[in-house]
Assembly symmetry: C2
Homo-oligomer: 298 residues x 2
Amino acid sequence: MANIGFIGLGIMGAPMAGHLIAGGNKVFTSAHRKPAPSELVSKGLESKGSPKEVAEAADIVIIMVPDTPQVEEVLFADDGVAKGLSKGKIVIDMSSISPIATKEFAAKINKLGCEYLDAPVSGGQVGAKAASLTIMVGGSDATFNKVKPVFDLMGKNVTLVGGNGDGQTTKVANQIIVALTIEAVAEGLLFASKAGADPVKVRQALMGGLATSRILELHGERMIKRTFNPGFRIELHQKDLNLALQGAKSLGVSLPNTATAQELFNACAANGGKAWDHSGMVRALELMANHQVAPDPS
Amino acid sequence: MANIGFIGLGIMGAPMAGHLIAGGNKVFTSAHRKPAPSELVSKGLESKGSPKEVAEAADIVIIMVPDTPQVEEVLFADDGVAKGLSKGKIVIDMSSISPIATKEFAAKINKLGCEYLDAPVSGGQVGAKAASLTIMVGGSDATFNKVKPVFDLMGKNVTLVGGNGDGQTTKVANQIIVALTIEAVAEGLLFASKAGADPVKVRQALMGGLATSRILELHGERMIKRTFNPGFRIELHQKDLNLALQGAKSLGVSLPNTATAQELFNACAANGGKAWDHSGMVRALELMANHQVAPDPS
């Protein structure tokens, strides 16, 4: 049982905070932007007037907001978390944000005598509701062990990857690999389909071999069945690939296929697809292909 | 027990033909280019003077040569297989070649009153020796069922995907997906490594999630351990991606990441890597990155 602040009660944060309350913790949130969800209030969630007041009331402050600028604001605005922290408190950022900014944020929080963990998740809304999120953590062993029981209320695969920033880096690497594997399956199945083969049978023949992946299994089927309801929305994956590409620029790495995948997501968004499941990336390749299944006679 | 011709006794073909002999079949080959391997001759392999003579002696003629032009020559040269065929015989091309050319070859063979199967394999030299190849077949049900026992002597996963060409199309789709998944893992792990995270722990954290693939498991480990001995040689994968890109041009499909992957293989080959394992593609990305692990201060 701990006093936990939870800032960002959106479609991910609300069920996550619900699990913390159900686990016997006292949970505070900030109503500085909008009122706390009544369903959580009825279970014991307590509202404060600002992130600063939340940090004063809680021993652990969890943040779950959309992107880097929002985390920065929650932490370092005039009435932000940093203003309410005192020595020994723990800040956990579970948002998916820049690994590079994360290292700066952690250093600033550490200077206040407080601990910082970056702990982005994968598994989406389904995983948040089912308390089955994958949680990738960056920070110290000691702090990780201290808050492990809190993570266990929200997730199933909880891994300490390394120091601050490494949790976010792992999440970005995950999103790169997922996007590019979707793109790989899309190119393979589209080629097969345009060459006149049945993509259902092609996918079956490839499953079990070297091309085997969770993406070929799940997203390959979505491409074939044309079911592009999320799942995971293209506009969210665009945000994550933006982190990858901005990070790559800053780190001095070239990620050519991540850049192309982002452009394919952009093409989907330009054609009304920002809320499609990310497997809908195949539609951008289809837009570029002609619709002629048989080969040219030449 | 059948009379089987086998043309192309290289590192793949020789062990495959060996399994056919061990299975009790009479096997013929052509010594028009070089003498038959003495090891197989001692087990009963019989040499003929040309592919034409092989086709006269055998009921089933298997071809296992490097690429499309070689298959065309074996089939349609003056002393080629087509000249020796008679009604009811079966030609099986187990080489990995153009799906489009395959449809033309099959049509020509069919006009002679003979059956044609395209049946490329994956699993490499190891699979050939262990008789555990994956075999992807295009052709008619009836012909497939007739020769299934022959395939079973050489492979484990034998799938009839569709009509002529569809076996080759499936193989190309497999090679596209494998190359691009290698590229995906390479971009993800390189990003993580340059951002200062331990790629060993990142890979562990990702295994089991949506980024899971056979490639992350096998080739991700090779990238981390720097073990780039084949496996599957880059120069062979270059040949397969050439089939993909030539086919895409002819079919009217755009395969942007296949094109980039081919260029990365080209960069490896240009740096002495044509015989590296295909996981060595990561080295091309490393050549493009600086070697600065820490982020720029900006």
